[in-house]
């Protein structure tokens, strides 16, 4: 077990190194220039060149890479070119909306998808099952930005129940900030629920036909107990994997939803950094996101240990 964990940790480090290198190179070879963005449309090429020099962007790529790695080893992700603050602090500022958006989205998705998925599998072929799978397909096909705009239209503009955009003004209370997350969390949660529903249904169908379920039934157990205690617990493993990966995807991939709702999260930070060519932010944020992916995958594997007695390392 200890050896396995150590191996995984070393593997994670190697993955991170590859990610860091790829991100650094891609960011630098992509066209665009942070100096030109900062100086605006009427800046002369000479001004742009001077600012590039001040930012150290005129140095050879290898020198910049070595400098970046040296910073990284010291735990320093550098300073944003545009935000006037360290990269880590910029990411930390954006962590709260992204964390709660992910949490609520996953909760909404799970609450919608798991019971329907279980029931759908149990009543396979019924009208309920057919309706559920059709709705899941619909939810999977709906772009989250479109659903977001629809929710804004009804619940923010027409009924005025929630704010349209942002994350609260100066001094906004925690509850006010959370109220800004309701609509985006539903937009993301509904879209994410489709995948989880389909996985839950498929996984339940698998286990409902297994021998141990038949055995449980032959023992005279109630259907509820058979389904929930014997079938559902075993069907949960692939569902957990999907939920974990969806969470990881949401941390980094809620970009469109964050943009539509004007949420200052990690996703929108990356997008604005890419548009501005804020290299340190792009590198730092992608590094953190990659680390989260790797960590979540690791945690899912550890969770297998808890829920599946057959899994031993």
């Amino acid at each position: 077990m200890g050896r396995y964990v150590l191996q995984r940790l070393l593997g994670m480090l190697a993955v991170m190194f590859v990610v860091v290198t790829i991100v650094f190179v891609i960011v630098r070879i992509a066209p665009g220039d942070p100096a030109a963005v900062m100086l605006g449309p009427d800046a002369t090429p000479q001004d742009v060149a001077a600012l590039r020099g001040r930012l150290g962007l005129d140095r050879p790529l290898l020198v910049q890479y070595a400098f970046f790695l040296a910073q990284l080893v010291r735990g320093d992700l550098g300073e944003s070119i545009f935000l006037n603050q360290p990269v880590l602090s910029a990411i930390a500022d954006r962590a709260e909306p992204t964390f709660f958006l992910t949490l609520f989205s996953i909760l909404i998705a799970a609450v919608i998808a798991i019971p329907i998925g279980v029931l759908s599998a149990y009543k396979r072929g019924s009208l309920f099952d057919q309706s559920a799978t059709t709705l899941a397909m619909l939810a999977a096909s709906v772009p989250s930005f479109w659903l977001g705009l629809l929710l804004i239209q009804f619940f923010a503009v027409r009924f005025g129940l929630f704010p349209v955009s942002g994350y609260g003004g100066p001094g906004a209370s925690f509850m006010t900030r959370l109220s800004h997350l309701v609509l985006p969390a539903f937009a993301l949660g509904i879209v994410s629920s489709a995948l989880i529903l389909r996985f839950t249904r498929a996984s339940m169908l698998d286990v409902l036909n297994d021998d141990y379920v038949r055995t449980a039934r032959s023992k005279g157990m109630s259907e509820f107990r058979v389904v929930m205690k014997h079938a559902f617990k075993n069907a949960l493993i692939p569902v957990l994997t999907v939920i974990g990966l969806t969470a990881a995807l949401l941390v980094s991939g809620a970009v469109v939803t964050e943009t539509v709702f004007g949420l200052p999260g990690v996703g929108s930070l990356v997008v604005s950094a890419v548009l501005r060519r804020d290299y340190p932010i792009i590198q730092g944020a992608l590094l953190v996101i990659a680390a989260l992916y790797v960590l979540i995958n690791f945690l899912i594997d550890m969770l297998y240990l808890a829920v599946d007695p057959r899994v031993r390392y």
């Binding site: 030109a36 800046a43 000479q46």
Partner: protein, 508 residues
């Protein structure tokens, strides 16, 4: 049309008659902007968004009145100009303090102007004409020019790449703590979330009535919050729901949705600016003047504007570099050279130019959708005239980088508000991408810049415009209007290319 008329009327009334006397101080407004400004240092950047936000806490010696004439702001009066236009003696107001409480002195002004000449694009452009900037006494500074340079005051007044006045001790680069003299102070900035400005209680407005960007600036609101909302649809919905009190830069398609709403109303700034196709005169296909003229004659500006802005409520055909209503308006040189769409004439010119069929590389971006739509229409007209076209659609950051390299493009598309002083137009500079540098340009532009008599300058500008049409370093497509939205409870906002919120209040 009726609604546009009403919206315009609101603006015009506000321009002419100040409602300040009847206004009640207090309150907070939320202003939705297109994004996060790249910096809080108005000297460093030429981005409009930087000027819009920072003009509330940083001020310049001069500014522009409602007729776009230069008027004093931190200067006490207009300067005394002597020695044939070479020496500007500027008296400073004595009642101005910085946000840290220290008084503004001539030392601060000289240090600020030197920083501007070192750092700002427009400052560097001006520096080559300046011999020295010096303190005369604590309330007077003197600028000595190498030769008469008429755009100086406009450059000192402009809020873009601006010659703002900072305390001599707080002007590090990059700026750590913005400290200005404006009616509002920067209290907090959470990038991509909000920029919070609060009233500066020590602010002393100029005497008299508000007059465009000049006159009395009264900080009536307690707070102004600029909220970056990059998605245009979200800005529209935020206006309609009443979350934002003022929403800048809306797509014109939103006009019908905004009219008749309770929480907001459309505001049209007519005219706002001009889209332009800038030619690479240094290298490649468009280095030949006949090829450039062929491109101009091949285009239908009407079709391009219609594709870009939909309705004539939001655009107008106009060959002149400045529309009617501006002192600079003239049709000199434009006859037979605008909205011609004559493929045969263009072909004849291409033949004369020995055009070899090399593709015309049009560099454009979808960051501004109207640029892209105009490019698509232009490409078809250029093809009809015999050009080969290579459309290069990139993001704005890539465009601003690529346009600096004369080897990789032939035409790039941009736009500009109508600038108060023609000398501020980028394409007139030899160093601006496009690199227009000919004896005719030099003669016309130098004469215009050297002349200080306003009437003679108007005549000389007509000559510059004529040369621009003769040599076609760029092609103006037309005039377009800007759409914003404003809550009915907000009063005192004057439609302006760089909206400002002093003298603005909330109806009780």
């Amino acid at each position: 049309m009726k609604f546009i008329g009403r919206a315009l009327l609101t603006g015009l009334v506000a321009l002419g008659i100040s409602p300040v006397a009847a206004q009640t101080p207090g309150g907070v407004i939320n202003v939705a902007t297109v994004g996060e400004p790249p910096t809080m240092d108005p000297m460093v950047s030429t981005a409009d968004l930087v000027g819009i936000v920072t003009q509330h806490f940083y001020e310049t010696l001069f500014t522009f009145d409602k007729d776009w004439k230069v008027t004093p702001l931190l200067a006490a009066t207009m300067p005394e100009i002597t020695e044939g236009g070479k020496v500007y003696t500027i008296k400073l107001r004595r009642d101005v303090t910085f946000h840290d409480g220290s008084p503004m002195t001539a030392d601060d002004v000289v240090a600020s102007l030197k920083r501007w000449m070192d750092l700002a694009s427009r400052g560097k452009q001006t520096a080559s004409n300046i011999d020295k900037v010096e303190v005369v006494d604590p309330a007077t500074v003197r600028i000595t020019l190498k030769a008469p340079y008429a755009p100086l005051l406009a450059l000192l007044a402009f809020n873009n790449s601006a010659a703002v006045i900072m305390p001599a001790k707080k002007m590090e680069n990059p700026l750590k703590e913005p400290v200005g003299t404006g009616p509002y102070m920067l209290k907090d900035r959470k990038a991509d979330q909000y920029i919070q400005l609060v009233r500066y209680d020590g602010y002393k407005p100029r005497e008299g009535a508000p007059d465009g960007y000049g006159g009395a600036r009264k900080p009536l609101l307690d707070e102004i919050r600029f909220v970056p909302v990059p998605d245009p649809n979200t800005r529209i919905e935020g206006a309609i729901s009443g979350q934002f009190d003022y929403v800048d830069a809306l797509p014109v398609e939103a006009y019908d949705r905004l009219k008749g709403q309770k929480a907001t109303q459309p505001v049209v700034l007519k005219p706002f600016g001009w889209p332009v196709f800038v030619m690479n005169t240094k290298q490649g296909v468009m280095a030949n003047v006949d090829t450039r003229m062929a491109a101009r004659l091949s285009l239908s500006m009407e079709d391009m504007l219609a594709a870009a802005f939909g309705s004539t409520d939001f655009y107008s055909l106009d060959a002149a570099m400045y529309p009617q209503g501006y002192v600079w308006h003239t049709n000199a040189g434009t006859e037979g050279k605008y909205n011609v769409a004559d493929a045969e004439k263009a072909k004849a010119l291409l033949k004369k130019a020995n055009y070899d069929g090399s593709p015309v590389r049009i560099l454009t971006s979808r960051q501004y959708e109207f640029h892209y739509k105009m490019a698509q229409v232009a490409a078809e007209y250029l093809k009809q005239a015999g050009f080969k076209v290579d459309m290069q659609v990139v993001d704005w950051a890539t465009l601003t980088q690529r346009r600096a390299d004369p080897a990789v493009w032939d035409i790039y598309i941009t736009h500009s508000p109508f600038l108060p002083e023609p000398a501020l137009i980028g394409q007139l500079s030899e160093s601006s991408p496009g690199w227009w540098s000919t004896p005719a340009r030099k003669q016309a532009v130098d004469a215009f810049n050297a002349e200080s008599d306003p009437q003679k300058r108007v005549e000389l500008w007509a000559n510059v415009q004529k040369v621009m049409y003769d040599e076609t370093p760029s092609i103006k497509i037309g005039d377009f209007n800007a759409l914003a939205a404003q809550a009915p409870k907000v009063e005192g906002v004057v439609p302006a290319p760089w909206p400002y919120f002093w003298n603005v209040s909330i109806k009780k």
